[in-house]
Every structure is written in C-alpha cells, then in structure tokens.
C-alpha cells in the first residue's frame, strides 16, 4: 500500500485525471480551500482578540472585586438611614482573616492634592498604597521602584509619578529620581515613574505615596477609601463578594438587606463574561469552519461522483485490461484525498497570509485590537487530519460506485 503511494505511476494517473479536468478540479478545490481558510482566519482572529484582552488585563489579578462605602438605605439598630458608611483598615484585616478563598485584601485611599515643583505646579490625584498593590495591579515602571515595606513602616515621604504627571512637573528629559516635589506643601522624594495601563480599575491615579504616609497627611486615621479583594484563582469571586459585604455590614451595623450601603465592582464577574464570550466565539469559529469544510469535502465527493460517471467507460476499459476493483477504488480515493489535501494546504497557507495581513492592519501598536493573531501547529495538524479522513470517506462513495458497475455494462456505454 505504501509502495503504491510512492509510485510515480500513481501520481501520473492522478495528474492525468486532473489535467484532463482542470477547471472542474480547481472549482472543486475552492470549496475545501474556502473552508479551511475560514477556519484558520477565524481561529486566528479569535486568538488575536483573546491575546489583546489578555494583554489589557494581564497586569490585573482579574479574580477581584472592589468595594467602597456609600450611604445606608435602611435604618438599623437605632441608626437612621442615609448614614455615610466608611470602611476602615480593621474591616480590611477582618475580611482577609474571615472570608474564605481570599488571596489579598488591598486597602487604598485617594485624594486630590496640589503638587508643586520649582515653578511648575498642578492638581493631581494622590493615592496611598501598600506594596501589595503591585501584585494585584502590576505597575509598569519606567524608572525607579514601587513603594516597599520600609516606606510603609517608617511613613516615608516618597512618591511615584505617572508619566503624564512627570511631564507636567519636570522639564523634558530631566532626571526625576531622587528629586523632590511638594505635595500639599510637604516635600516628597520621587522614587519612580510609572506608566498608566490601558485599562484602569477604579479612579485613575497620578501619584502613589505610602499608605501610612497618606493616612497621616490627610488625617484619615483608620479610614480607607476602598479596598480591592482578590480571590484565589480557584475561588468563586461572586461568593467572596457576598461574604465580604455581609461581614462588612455586620461590622458597621448595617441592615443585612441594605443593598446600597456598599458600592462594588466585580472585576472577576465582568472578566468571566468576557472570557465566556471569547470561548463562545471560538466554539462558533470551529463550528463554522468545520461545517464549511464538510460542505467543501462533500463538493469534492459530488464532483468525483460525476467524474466517475463520466469515466465509466474508461473504468470499464481498465478493468477489461486487468485492473482489479481494489486498484480502481484505491486510485479514486487517492484522487479524493489528494484534492482535499492540496486544497487544504493552500487554504492553510492563504489563511496564514490573511492572518499576516490582519496583523499588519490591526495588530500594530500598544492599543491593537488584535494581538498576535495566530493558530497553533496542533490546530493545523488536526485540520489536516480531519481533511484526510473526510477526503478518504468521501472518496469511498464514488470509488464503490465505480466498481459497482460491471465492466461489461461500463464498456457498453457509449
């Protein structure tokens, strides 16, 4: 059988039968070519979209929920409704200790500040942060370092500036690290410059200073602005949100059914919707691609059936000359597989070109909609194997048709 595949005559026969029907063979192949092209193009684009989402959210611990205090909407334990709810550092610690499945709780505070440096000044959003923030919302540092535990322990007056803030406070290309800026008339040493990500969770931040320092200069005491709760990768973030809120209501003497006392944004839930959408798209892609492929392969089977019908006489002659039914079938199956494979490989190549074109058109720059649109080699191989299997199966139909006619009937046909 394998010797047969390497036999020059086999391919001579295949070549002859195609060169005889060039147009028809090409039209036939278009079906399969189109199918695999769609499959590769769509899968690659879906992957590109996924990559671009991953790049946007890659720096975030996506299994997170943000919680902040609002006003109560129900009276409880002697308190009137409409009471301002303030979260505190101890709330954060209790949540971290008591709610199951939590990885980190990161308290944050933020406020407006006037910042002056030499003759330049501006109004900026200053956030007080723990070093932990860097783990749940990776800061892209251009220069310097992020806040460390030492800064927290000693309430150091150090600050990180965003790239935009740096541009407003410093001259072009001026060194900022080690320089001082005045935040609300207090001197802070610049330890780093960061780049704001494409996606910001919560209010945008122009400057970071150590959390403890922030609490001091704004006289906040124990009170925090909001907290980021990050669940372990395997834990259910919706459950964590519910548990945390219930605990917070308990701690702050708020009616358990008061739904407006805390505001929250569940990043994990939103992200889940997004990944669900992407998974759905990938499923759709496979479905559409494979359905098109099957349609294409059927077209090949159909054409081969017509070809066999037209070649009835030729097949009769061959059998009169001593071709066994197996040899006839084998030849037709080889033709079918060859057609599907050539069309498939061409489809894969052109699909690749389309992905290259997509990448050139939409894949450049930091805010590209499609990042690294590609398909894995495994997918290509699976597609090829599907093609070969389908080609063989579909080739069997005309093959059996060809040998079901007795040679005498085939010869009689004029």
């Amino acid at each position: 059988m394998f010797k047969f595949l390497f036999d020059r005559d086999t391919w001579q026969e295949v070549y002859d039968s195609f060169s005889k029907n060039k147009l028809r063979s090409i039209l036939t192949m278009v079906g399969v070519w189109w199918g695999i092209l769609l499959l590769i193009g769509l899968l690659g684009s879906a992957r590109g979209l996924e990559n671009s989402f991953n790049r946007l959210f890659g720096d975030f611990a996506t299994n997170s929920v943000f919680v902040w205090g609002q006003s109560t909407s129900k009276p409880f334990k002697g308190f009137q409704e409409g009471r301002k709810v303030r979260l505190s550092l101890s709330d954060a610690k209790k949540i971290e200790k008591n709610v199951e499945g939590i990885e980190f709780v990161v308290p944050r505070s933020q406020d407006q500040a006037t910042v002056v440096r030499k003759f330049l000044s501006g109004s900026f959003q200053v956030a007080g942060d723990y070093p932990l923030l860097d783990q749940v919302q990776k800061k892209k540092l251009i220069y310097g370092r992020f806040i460390n535990q030492n800064d927290i322990d000693f309430d150091k007056k150090v600050t990180l500036l965003s790239e935009e803030t740096y541009k407003q406070l410093f001259e072009k290309k001026e060194n900022a690290i080690g320089e001082y800026v005045q935040i609300n008339s207090m001197s802070f040493k610049v330890i780093g410059i960061f780049k704001n990500g494409d996606v910001n969770m919560g209010p945008s931040t122009d400057m970071h200073i150590p959390f403890t320092t922030f609490q001091q200069i704004y006289n906040r005491g124990d009170e925090i602005g909001w907290m980021m709760i990050t669940g372990k990768p395997e834990s259910d973030i919706k459950q964590i949100e519910a548990d945390a809120k219930l605990l917070l209501k308990n701690l702050n003497k708020i009616h358990p059914k008061d739904s407006r006392a805390f505001g929250s944004f569940n990043l994990g839930k939103e992200f889940g919707k997004l990944t669900g959408f992407l998974t759905g798209m990938q499923f759709l892609t496979w479905f559409v691609g494979i359905a098109t492929l099957i349609a294409g392969v059927f077209a090949i089977g159909n054409i081969l059936l017509i070809t066999v019908k037209e070649r009835t006489k030729e097949i009769g002659v061959r059998r009169a000359l001593g071709a066994t039914p197996f040899e006839i079938k084998r030849q037709i199956v080889v033709e079918a597989v060859f057609l599907t494979l050539v069309a498939g490989v061409l489809g894969i190549i052109t699909g690749g070109w389309i992905l290259i074109a997509l990448d050139a058109a939409f894949g450049q720059g930091d805010d590209a909609a499609i990042v690294n649109a590609s398909v894995s080699i495994a997918v290509v191989f699976i597609a090829l194997i599907i093609l070969v299997v389908l080609g063989t199966l579909i080739g069997l139909i005309p093959a059996f048709k060809a040998t079901s006619i007795k040679p005498i009937e085939a010869l009689r046909e004029e």
């Binding site: 009769g316 000359l321 001593g322």
Partner: protein
C-alpha cells in the same frame, strides 16, 4: 485451448427473462482464427463477453487453457483477463488523455511491471504495429486505423493466450479494415489464437473458421479457406 459446454445465459427484462444463449458448445484449438457471426440479437456479443470474462454464464462449463473459469471473484477475473486475454474493441476504447505508448503500457501497469521495463515493452509492441513514431501522440491526433493499431498493440502487450476482437473493423472504412485484418492475420500466422465477432461476410471470410449463431444456438460451424487481406491493401 478453449472449451465451452452447454453454455446458457439469460437476461432479465422486467418480469420475464430473455434467453440469449441456449446451450452453446464450442471448442477452439490453439492457433485458430475464428469468426463468430450472426445477426444482432443472436447472442454473439454475449458469447464473446463470457469468453472474455466480462460477463458470467448462468450454467455450463468454460475451460480456458485447461483452467476452469467458474465462480470468479471480480479480482480473480481481473487477473485472468490481464494474463490470458487481449481485447480489441470496435470503438478502440483507448484512454483519451493518455498517449499511444501509455495506452499500450496500461495492461503491463496492472501486471505490476516496473515503469521502465513497461515502456520498453510497450514501445516494442508499438513498433510491431508500425506506430513507434506516434508513441507520444494522443488518440485524438491519430486516425481510426492508427487508433485500432494502438489498441491491437495494447491487446498484445501482456502477451495473452487468446485475442478477443469485437467488430474490430466496425468503425473503419474498407481500406483500413483490410489493413487491420491483414495485421490480425499476420498475428495469427505467428501463432496467436484469435476469436472475432463480426457481421461482415468478407471480414469473416478472412478467418479460418466461421461459427454462425442464430437465436442463441450455433447454426453452422465450418472451416473456410482463408482469404488473405494483403491482396486488397
């Protein structure tokens, strides 16, 4: 060489059946040249097809060169056809997208012969029919007589024991017919056994024996004085 005993064959037509061959007895010795004659519907083509293993008899014996041809699978029939029989058809039945040489080489391909050997052998047979200069030409580029010569070369390629010809001159004009017949006679002179179906008296007269069929039985079976075709060429 060939022995047929009480051969019967009928074809179903709707609910009834048409009895085409009604007990044929025929014996052909090696080196004979037999013409099977009869009007259309006499069963001559059916007989040739059964001898050619393209069709199967309902009952009766068929022994070819001592080998009983019975209960053939398609595969076995194909091997026997390839080994023992050479076919010449009225409409040549060459494969139209293959050139003369490839057509002649086809039975050798199915014998599993190597490409180079096969082409040499095919060339040898093409030379024998005088068409070596036309080896690379497609059937459509050849005349009817040339095509039939290619077909004869193809029939000879596998060196068969028996040559079966179904109206070999049916599609040719008289002059070309005589050329082809002269050639077939020459093959017979060299010792090939030839069985030919025809309805032309003059062509039949060029054989050594005429078997006449009518309504599925042999009416007449006689040896004749062979008319040489060369004299007309």
């Amino acid at each position: 060489m060939l022995k047929i005993n009480q051969l019967h064959k009928s074809y179903p037509i709707g609910d009834s059946s048409l009895h085409v061959l009604k007990g044929i007895d025929l014996k052909v010795e090696e080196g004979e040249m037999v013409a099977i004659m009869g009007s259309s519907g006499s069963g001559k083509s059916t007989l040739l097809n059964i001898i050619g293993m393209l069709d199967e008899a309902d009952s009766g014996d068929y022994i070819l060169d001592g080998l009983p041809i019975k209960d053939l699978t398609e595969k076995k029939a194909a091997v026997y056809r390839n080994k023992f029989l050479g076919f010449i058809f009225q409409s040549f039945n060459l494969i139209n997208y293959k050139n003369a040489l490839e057509n002649v080489a086809l039975p050798l391909y199915y014998q599993g012969m190597k490409r180079k050997e096969r082409q040499e052998m095919a060339m040898f047979h093409l030379e024998k029919v005088g068409l070596s200069d036309w080896a690379k030409h497609l059937p459509k580029e050849l005349s009817g007589g040339q095509n039939q010569r290619v077909a004869i070369a193809r029939a000879l390629a596998a060196n068969p024991k028996l040559l079966l010809a179904d109206e070999p001159t049916g599609a040719l004009d008289t002059k070309t017919s005589h050329e082809i017949m002269a050639f077939i006679q020459q093959l017979n002179d060299e010792g090939k056994t030839i069985l030919m179906v025809t309805h032309e008296e003059d062509i039949a007269g060029m054989c050594k024996r005429i078997v006449r069929l009518r309504d599925g039985v042999i009416m007449e079976d006689k040896k004749v004085e062979q008319v040489r075709a060369e004299q007309y060429v």
